[in-house]
Amino acid sequence: MEEPLISSLRRAIASSPDDIPLRLLLGQLLVKAGSPAEAVSLAAGVLQDAPDNVDARQLMSEALAPAASTSPASTDPTATGAAPPAATTPAAPAATEPRAADATPPSATIPAPAPAPPSPPAPAPAPAQPEFDWSAAENDVHELAQPMFTDAQPSVVPGSGFDIERSVITLADVGGMTSIKKRLNAAFLAPLQNPELRKLYSKSLRGGLLMYGPPGCGKTFIARAIAGELGARFLSVGLADILDPMLGNSEQNVHEAFELARREAPCVIFFDEIDALGQRRSQTRNSALRGTVNQLLTELDGVADQNEGVFVLAATNQPWDVDPALRRPGRFDRTVLVLPPDEEARESIFRYHLQHRPVEGIELKALARASGGLSGADIAYVCEVAAERALIDSAETGELRLITMRDVTEALREVTPSTTSWLDSARNVVLFGDDDGTYTELKTYLKKAKRL
């Protein structure tokens, strides 16, 4: 009699997938029908939409209870309703221990579960505390934490070691950072997106854009967003893609990257860590690196119209180490300072990193206010630490609990901004090395941040 009911519920949910009570009801029936894994998935889905839903949490706990997942006896409604959890455990150990051992990878950050009572001298009923099914929990969280932008599928072009992809994100996906977006628009996007105006003002399309700023503040993400904004393919080139010990091969790799970008035009070619690839030639005795800089210069200059539809972007944490020749007009002549995220951006970043996790009562605005100076990577780490706290706590108590505001605020206290040392160096640049006003934007920021 239950089977048709479950089927009907499934159909009902298919037609109205947002109906939470319906999903919970199906979950409860699935638990009773001996399909706890599916119930866990359902509860997780509900918690994702409504993190503070008590019924969903209850369902999750019921579904994760070992007896429910292993003991057919629990299908008897009276047994599960009347018996305390201890009564459901005897059958569990034999089934759950191997599973737990298989599924839970050893982790340095997760201490051993809470100490169980000393082993009984003789075979005895299992400990009263129900064991937590980590296998199911991990599977559940794994499904929750899907990568956000999965449809940008990298594809390796035949004959090339470079990955080229079509970026689906745009600047609208970059939370906050309004001033940076405006600057990007003025310096780069507006001339590209308005060919008529460009012709009217005889604006050249030559030259690339250099983004610089502290590490972990989203330069690569912005580069992808620019590619998305332009509807162009995205070719990311790192140091490891270029460097080759064979004499001349590094230069060849630079050439190939540009050739690929030209073939796939419109294409954004993005050089990450350009300070390593395009290091000041005076600073290096390594002839391979000198040749690479020369090749990069040649490719950037190109011949007439050779780079049509190729938009060159680069990112660096240390623009002062980039060979000055690369900064000349027609090369990376436009710069954008990508600063630590503003409050609005921090809120978005917290939302992004917490939305696929089981959370409750998170005040994003308060977190954004309290996290001034943190980079995007720092915020990701804060969320990671908060999740770890909740996980460890759940492991110790054997009871699943959601990530709370307290977890995040305490994690926030543990994390110090990784941007500090960069800002110290940046201050020295402004103080001692800004004769030509290259770093005016940085100077303004440092003054505003009272670091100058």
Binding site: N286, S425, L431
Partner: protein, 353 residues
């Protein structure tokens, strides 16, 4: 070039870029496949040293030595690692072994000198080794740098300056030679030139913590000179009138005391201005930048400077005030000088902490 060489070349390139972690990553598969390769182990040791992990560097170098005991590179790395770990005796022994294994290589001699330089105890061996390094590689800037460092440690400013200048002739942007040349100038009392040198280093390498620290030292030297002038002025006035038997409310006493104070304050001001002009001349256009940078690099220096300025202002004010008030101002000026000295002590304490 085979795969083995490729991995080593990759690691070398990463090391040249100052990326020891990437170098170690490049070496990892190679060392997993060829754990006995002494070149790979030496490169790993070098990468650990660059990353600041002397103990791991020592371990890797010793592994290399267990395979090839006559590998002078590995011995040098052992010497360097021990030196970083503060084990001078072992470091010396390893450096001498490398020297005896490859006496024709300047780097082995330089390593012997480096151990003594790091230990801040220059021996005859180190002097001889530095000279030998220069003799073997007269066109190698680092050989001259080593000789300069030995002379610097011996406070032989002339020889040190000559060696660093020679290194800079061979490689004009050699960061260590530029820094140490400025340091020699600072030690010689040429604070302006030293400040200019450190500012130039910071302009090209803003992350240089050593240059920032040295620039702070230049500012401290300049302030110490001004502080000293003011102490002398204060002492002169105090000593000159300490034996006077005139009552303090005597108009004659007051006039003479104030006139004398005015002369001393004016003289001290002249000395200070002359010193600042000298600094300005030596530092050139970088002087303004140097002055502007002080509040940003060390807040206590600003406090110190403010105390000295206030001290002189009180002394000057005392020249024009009524005698009783003048004496109070004068005593306050003395208190500010003492406060300045306390700031110096606090700075020193913070530096050691």
């Amino acid at each position: 070039m085979n795969t083995e060489d490729a991995a080593l070349a990759h690691a070398r390139t990463y090391l040249a870029l100052g990326k020891p972690v990437d170098a170690l990553r490049a070496l990892a598969p190679h060392l997993a496949a060829h754990p006995e390769d002494d070149r790979g182990l030496c490169l790993a040791s070098q990468a650990h040293l660059v990353a600041g992990h002397a103990a791991r560097a020592l371990e890797a170098a010793q592994q290399a030595l267990s395979r090839t005991p006559d590998n002078e590179w590995a011995w040098r790395l052992v010497a360097l690692s021990y030196s970083k770990l503060g084990n001078v005796t072992e470091a010396k022994a390893a450096a001498h072994t490398a020297q005896s294994l490859a006496p024709e290589l300047w780097v082995t001699h330089a390593q012997v000198a480096q151990v003594d330089i790091a230990a801040k105890r220059i021996t005859g061996d180190a002097e001889h080794a530095a000279r030998e390094a220069v003799r073997l590689a007269p066109l190698e800037p680092d050989a001259h740098l080593t000789a300069g460092n030995v002379a610097l440690a011996q406070q032989n400013w002339t020889a040190a300056e000559a060696a660093f200048r020679q290194a800079l002739n061979l490689q004009p942007d050699h960061p260590a030679a530029r820094n140490n040349l400025s340091l020699v100038m600072l030690r010689q009392g040429r604070a302006g030139s030293a400040a200019a040198g450190f500012i130039d280093i910071l302009a090209s390498d803003p992350g240089s913590a050593v240059a920032v620290r040295n620039l702070r030292a230049v500012a401290a030297v300049a302030l110490r000179r001004i502080h000293f002038i003011l102490w002398i002025a204060f002492a002169v006035v105090t000593v000159a009138f300490s034996g006077a038997s005139q009552p303090t409310d005597s108009p004659l006493y007051g006039t003479v005391w104030q006139d004398f104070l005015a002369v001393v304050a004016l003289t001290s001001a002249v000395f200070i201005v002359v010193y600042l002009v000298q600094l300005r001349r030596a530092a050139g256009r970088r002087f303004a930048r140097f002055v502007r940078s002080i509040p940003r690099i060390d807040g206590l220096l600003v406090v110190w400077a403010a105390l000295l300025v206030a001290c002189w202002a009180l002394m000057a004010g005392a020249c024009f005030a009524e005698v009783r008030i003048a004496q109070v101002l004068y005593l306050l000026a003395g208190a500010l000088l003492v406060a300045g000295s306390i700031v110096v002590i606090v700075r020193r304490h913070l530096a050691t902490v």
